[in-house]
């Protein structure tokens, strides 16, 4: 059993409005407690913006700047530069964004911040769609997944954002899962210790958006890792790949079968997805071996 071992510094309060059983709230709790009190968050519209709470309440102890959907990385740059100018250089500035605000509309600002190597930590809670607006496809939505804007299943594959970010040669990129919280905490701690642009991608199975049971978010995240659909790894300086877990112990079948967004998959669809995951897995292992 992977027991989480981290001090709860009361950075994230109960009573927030995440869906019951949401793995994003769980991840937020670990991330915020790992970062501690000397941090400022920048949050674009997303589930996190709602979970952080409506005025005058806040479930988050650190200051939050709620910004526009495409602006997280630019806003975080502004906060960080302002802190630098005012002599507060040690404060961590962390973006807490969704995949719509990262893969899609926020990618331009994120690419520019990464190019400037701004000293920010960017966390993307990747639930593979615009789940806060009721579940439409983003460029993170995988092939064949049914969403509100792809009722017959998405016709194109999920964007590989880690590779795009790696091409910027930023110092640190890592993937995390709410089924591996000690690993998440360790990666956040490592990222916060590095100067420059750091990006953490967290897979978040969305209960209503993916159509999984209320108690199945963490289990689904674990299956995503165990099947190799969402591998856990790190990329340092854009070229040094390290697998956090370099083995797979199950096929994609069980992972897909328990999600209603994949309810229309044919056997051919499933075998095509398996072939693609196998190919991507080998490619990733190849990168890590070099």
């Amino acid at each position: 059993m992977d027991m989480i071992d981290y001090p709860d510094g009361e950075q994230f309060s109960p009573g927030h409005v995440a869906c019951a059983g949401c793995a994003e709230a769980l991840s937020l709790r670990v991330i915020l407690n790992t970062l501690g009190a000397d941090a400022i968050a920048v949050v674009p519209p997303s589930c996190t913006a709602v979970i952080c709470g409506g005025y005058p309440l806040s479930s988050v102890s650190i200051p939050v700047q709620h910004t526009t959907l495409e602006s997280a990385a630019a806003s975080a740059s502004g906060v960080k530069r302002s802190l630098n100018a005012l002599g507060k250089t040690n404060t961590t500035v962390v973006c807490l964004a969704g995949d719509g605000g990262t893969y899609d509309i926020g990618l331009q600002a994120l690419s520019s911040a990464a190019e400037r190597n701004e000293d920010i930590l960017y966390v993307c809670f990747d639930n593979e769609g615009y789940m806060n607006t009721g579940g439409q496809k983003s460029s993170s939505t995988p092939l064949n997944a049914i969403t509100g804007s792809t009722p017959a299943g998405k016709l194109s594959r999920k964007k590989n954002l880690v590779e795009i970010l790696a091409a910027h040669r930023i110092p640190y990129i890592a993937t995390c899962s709410p089924a591996h919280l000690s690993d998440m905490s360790a990666k956040i701690k490592k990222a916060a210790s590095i100067r420059g642009t750091k990006v953490i991608m967290v897979i978040i199975p969305c209960l209503p958006g993916w159509g999984v049971a209320d108690d199945a978010a963490v289990k689904t995240a674990r299956m995503a890792v165990d099947s190799g659909v969402f591998p856990l790894y790190e990329v340092e300086d854009g070229v040094d790949y390290t697998m956090t877990i370099d083995t797979r112990n199950q096929s994609v079948n069980a992972y897909l079968k328990q999600q209603k967004r994949y309810r229309n998959l044919s056997d051919k669809n499933i075998s095509d997805i398996q072939a693609d995951v196998d190919k991507e897995w080998e490619y990733l292992l190849g990168r890590a071996r070099k």
Partner: protein, 385 residues
């Protein structure tokens, strides 16, 4: 009159950069666009030479530049940026955001025609189409005024917690070179109080900005912004007066030029004012009683001062270097609205003069004054050929 000191030949844009340097901003996100770019390049030059101690960012778009401005301002920094035309339009979403967040950013905009079709000429529709975004909006006529206004802008914006946009016209002001008096750093340091906002993103305070709110609180946020707007004209006057005591150059929301006992007053903004002054001088020499009322502060529109200034004047000519299709010249419409219901209201003639950067000469203005002296005004703005 004070003797002018420390004169330098500067373009309007470089005068802006000098003003910014003297105001000592902490953060300046900058993105290039013609004809604003000389402002950016002079600032990056100052920075590389160690003469400007600020955090400069060069993001990938004006949208990100303004996003960074808002965030930096809310973190407690004095913030400046500059843009023009398309860039200002790309910022539109964040302009609302900045004023809603009460971030006292100072921005300089160089008025330029937006596409389509592509053009790079002086026209004020770029900034006027941002009329309702909640920014204080000022228009400058000359390089000296642009420098002076940038410095005053930080004092006004930061005092009222409102963002402030100053515009000058492409090329006529942005690239025209004239002798500009550079104030001493010490004078500016004494004039501009340090920016130290009570509300800011600060881990020792824990305050957040912009969280979702209910209807009544959103409603209240705009009422409070309106209350701050209601204090702008007086602040512009007080600040302009204080600047005048130090430099000999005073400013207010409006400026009257030779309006005494005028039969006709020309109302306009920006570089057109210089040409109108020339036309007024020529007409006064011929015995025609004409004056200029220059609108320096467009938002908030100084309604009562406009009414007081134009009460009893027989005829007013509004020269609009902008066009709102389906409605006409924006200053024309604004002025009619400001004067509505006045017993002794003037006849208001709205003239679309110089739209797209078309040249409007002093002679042309003199002809227009004669043509419209006794004419019945049309409700619509009229194109000047």
């Amino acid at each position: 009159m004070k003797e002018k000191q420390n004169l330098q030949l500067l373009s309007g844009n470089h005068a802006v950069s000098w003003g910014v340097k003297l105001a000592r901003p902490h953060v300046a996100p900058l993105y290039p666009i013609t004809p604003q770019t000389p402002i950016l390049e002079k600032l990056t030059e100052f920075h590389s030479q160690g003469e400007l101690d600020a955090e400069l960012l060069t993001p990938e778009s004006e949208h990100s530049a303004m996003s960074a401005c808002v965030a930096a301002s809310l973190t407690g920094a004095r913030v400046f940026t500059a843009t023009s035309s398309q860039g200002l339009l790309l910022m539109h979403e964040l302009l609302h955001y900045a004023s809603g967040a009460r971030a006292p950013i100072v921005m300089f905009n160089v008025n330029r025609t937006p596409g389509s079709p592509w053009a790079f000429w002086p026209d004020q529709i770029d900034s006027l189409s941002q009329r309702d975004t909640g920014w204080i909006k000022m228009y400058s006529e000359s390089p000296q005024e642009s420098l002076d206004t940038v410095i005053q802008a930080f004092r006004i914006a930061e005092k009222l917690a409102l963002p402030l946009m100053i515009s000058h016209d492409a090329f006529y002001v942005s690239h025209a070179v004239e002798p500009v008096e550079l104030p001493q750093q010490e004078l500016v340091d004494n004039f501009l109080p340090a920016y130290n906002p009570e509300l800011r993103l600060d881990t020792s305070l824990g305050q957040s900005f912009g969280a979702p709110i209910d209807q009544a609180t959103w409603n209240r946020s705009r009422r409070e912004a309106g209350e701050a707007m209601a204090r702008v004209e007086n602040e512009v006057l007080e600040t302009g007066k204080a600047w005048g005591e130090l430099t000999g150059r005073s400013y207010a929301a409006l400026e009257n030029y030779r309006t005494e006992a005028a039969d006709t007053i020309i109302v306009t903004m920006g570089s057109m004012c210089g040409t109108v002054r020339d036309a007024v001088d020529a007409l006064r020499d011929q015995g025609t009683a004409v004056g200029l009322l220059k609108v320096r502060q467009f938002r908030p529109l100084p309604v009562q001062t406009l009414r007081d200034s134009l009460a009893g004047i027989p005829s007013v000519l509004v020269l609009d270097r902008n066009y709102s299709p389906g409605m006409g010249g924006i200053l024309h419409q604004e002025l009619k609205s400001a004067l509505f219901g006045m017993r002794d209201a003037p006849r208001v003639h709205g003239l679309l003069a110089g739209v797209g950067g078309v040249n409007v000469s002093s002679n042309k203005i003199q002809q227009l004054v004669a043509e419209y002296a006794d004419a019945k005004p049309s409700n619509d703005s009229v194109w000047v050929e």
